[in-house]
Symmetry: C2
DNA sequence: CTCCCGTAAAATGAATGCAATCCGTGCTTG
DNA sequence: CAAGCACGGATTGCATTCATTTTACGGGAG
C-alpha cells in the first residue's frame, strides 16, 4: 500500500540531506537533561533510571550516550559508564576560542552571501528582540538572540560551519543556563552590540561584523565565567 | 589484587583527560575501512558481515556506527541502516572552507604560543619530509606532511581546535587517499609552500602563516577535486 | 514485453539475558 | 583504633533473541 510513496520519499531523501534518525527524541531529551542541569557535571549517568524515565531499553539509551560522548557532552569511562562532562575554566576558554572563530567566519561569509530577504528577516528578529529587551523579558530576549545568531550562521550558507558551531555551542549551553541573570549594564552592552551587528550586516561589512561577533562572544564568555565564579 | 592500582589510575584519569573507550579499536577499524575505500561511498554498511569481520556482536558495532554518523562518516537512514557518506562537490567545498579556517587559526595561535622545542621538532620533521620529497617517496612524504600539520595544531595549544580539525579532516581522508598520485609541478609547489611555512613559523608571523596555510589547503582542495573529476 | 503486485527471506531496531567488573559494607588484623 | 581486605549487591558491556520493516524474487495482468 504505502510502499510506493514511502519508496519515493526515501529516494528523494536518500541522496543528500541527512534523514532524521529514529531516536532523535531520545537524544534531544538527554541533551535537555544535561543542559538544564538535571544531571550535575561529573555525576554518573544512571542508565537504569533514565531507561524507565524515557520508557526505552538500555540498548538505544547506550547508543545515544555514545553519540553524546562523541559530541563531548558526556565522558565514557571503561567499565564505569558515562559521566556528565565537566567544564573547566581552560576548557571553556578553548571552546569559546573556537566558537568565536566559527561565528566570526559565519558573519564574514554571511555578509558576502546573504540575500535581502534573509537580511529583512534578521532585522525583524532584531526588533522583536529589542522590544523584549525594553520590557526586560529575559527568556524571550534570549530566544530571539539565539535565533539571530543562528540566522546569521544560516546565511553563511555553509552547513559544515553551521553544524560545527552548533556542536560546540551545545557544549556550553549548560553554562549559559547557569548565567541566565544578567547585569543591566551588561545587558545594555549586549543590546548595543546587536544594534551594531545589524548595521554592519546592512552594510555588508564582513570584516567589521566578524570582529564584532568575536568581541560579542568574548563578552558573553566573561559573563559566563563571572557567573560560574559567583555561585547562586 | 589489581583493584587498587586500577582505582588510582581511574582517579587520576577521571578528572579531565578523556579516557580511552573500550571499543576504540572497533571505531578505528571501521574508520580505516571507510577511508581506504573498502566500503564505497553511498554503499550500505553490511552489519552482519562486519560483525564476523571484527568478531563482535551487532550491539557494539551499531553503537560505533552511531558515533561514526555523529562524525559524519556515515549516514543513518531510519529502518534502512547506515550508508557510507557521499562527498559531493559542494559538501567538499564547505568542508575545506571550515578546515582551512581552523588550520589558519591553528597557525596563528601556534606562532603566539609555540615553544622553541616544538619549533625545532617541526623543523626536524620538515627536513625529513624534504628528503623524502627529493627521493620521490610519496607515502613517507605524506606521513611527515600530516605530522607537521598536526604538530602545528598541537602547538596552538587548544584541544578543542585540534579535535574539531581532526574530526573534519577525517571526513576528507578518503578523498585524500584517492588523490595519492601527485603532479610533479603540484608537488614542487606544495614543497615550496612548506618551506615558506617553516620560515613564517620561525619568524612567528602568525598572520602570514595563517594566510599561507589557507592557501596551501585551497591548493590541496583543487588537487583533490581534480583527482575526483578524473577517475583512475 | 513491461510493469505491477504478493510473498518469502533478510536486515534493522529494540528488549532481554548473561558474564565480568566495579562499588559499598562489614570484618579481620596489626 | 586505624587500615586493609573480603564478600554481596549493583552496574556495565556484550551476546543473544524477538517483533517490525525493508528488500529481493517470482507470478500475473495489461
Amino acid at each position: 500500500m504505502q510502499t510506493h510513496p514511502a519508496l519515493q520519499d526515501a529516494a528523494t531523501i536518500l541522496p543528500f540531506p541527512g534523514a532524521r534518525t529514529l531516536h532523535a527524541d531520545l537524544l534531544s531529551g538527554l541533551r535537555d537533561l544535561v543542559n538544564q542541569g538535571d544531571l550535575a557535571p561529573g555525576a554518573r549517568v544512571p542508565e537504569r533510571a533514565l531507561c524507565e524515565r524515557f520508557g526505552v531499553s538500555r540498548t538505544p539509551l547506550r547508543e545515544v550516550l555514545k553519540v553524546l560522548a562523541a559530541e563531548g557532552l558526556v565522558e565514557l569511562l571503561p567499565n564505569r559508564g558515562a559521566r556528565i562532562a565537566t567544564l573547566g575554566d581552560d576548557h571553556l576558554f578553548h571552546l569559546f576560542e573556537v566558537i568565536g572563530l566559527l561565528e566570526a567566519e559565519g558573519g564574514r561569509l554571511a555578509c558576502a552571501r546573504i540575500t535581502p530577504d534573509a537580511v529583512a528577516e534578521i532585522q525583524g528578529l532584531h526588533y522583536r528582540m529589542y522590544a523584549h529587551f525594553l520590557r526586560h523579558e529575559l527568556p524571550e530576549y534570549f530566544a530571539l538572540n539565539q535565533q539571530i545568531h543562528a540566522a546569521i550562521l544560516t546565511a553563511a550558507a555553509n552547513p559544515v560551519l553551521s553544524s560545527s558551531f552548533a556542536s560546540l555551542a551545545g557544549r556550553i549551553t549548560r553554562a549559559r543556563y547557569m548565567s541566565n541573570r544578567m547585569h543591566p549594564a551588561r545587558w545594555q552592552q549586549a543590546m548595543d552590540e546587536h544594534e551594531a551587528m545589524l548595521a554592519l550586516l546592512l552594510q555588508r561589512d564582513g570584516e567589521g561584523l566578524a570582529a564584532l561577533l568575536r568581541q560579542h562572544l568574548a563578552n558573553k564568555r566573561d559573563i559566563i565565567i563571572e557567573a560560574m565564579a559567583t555561585p547562586g
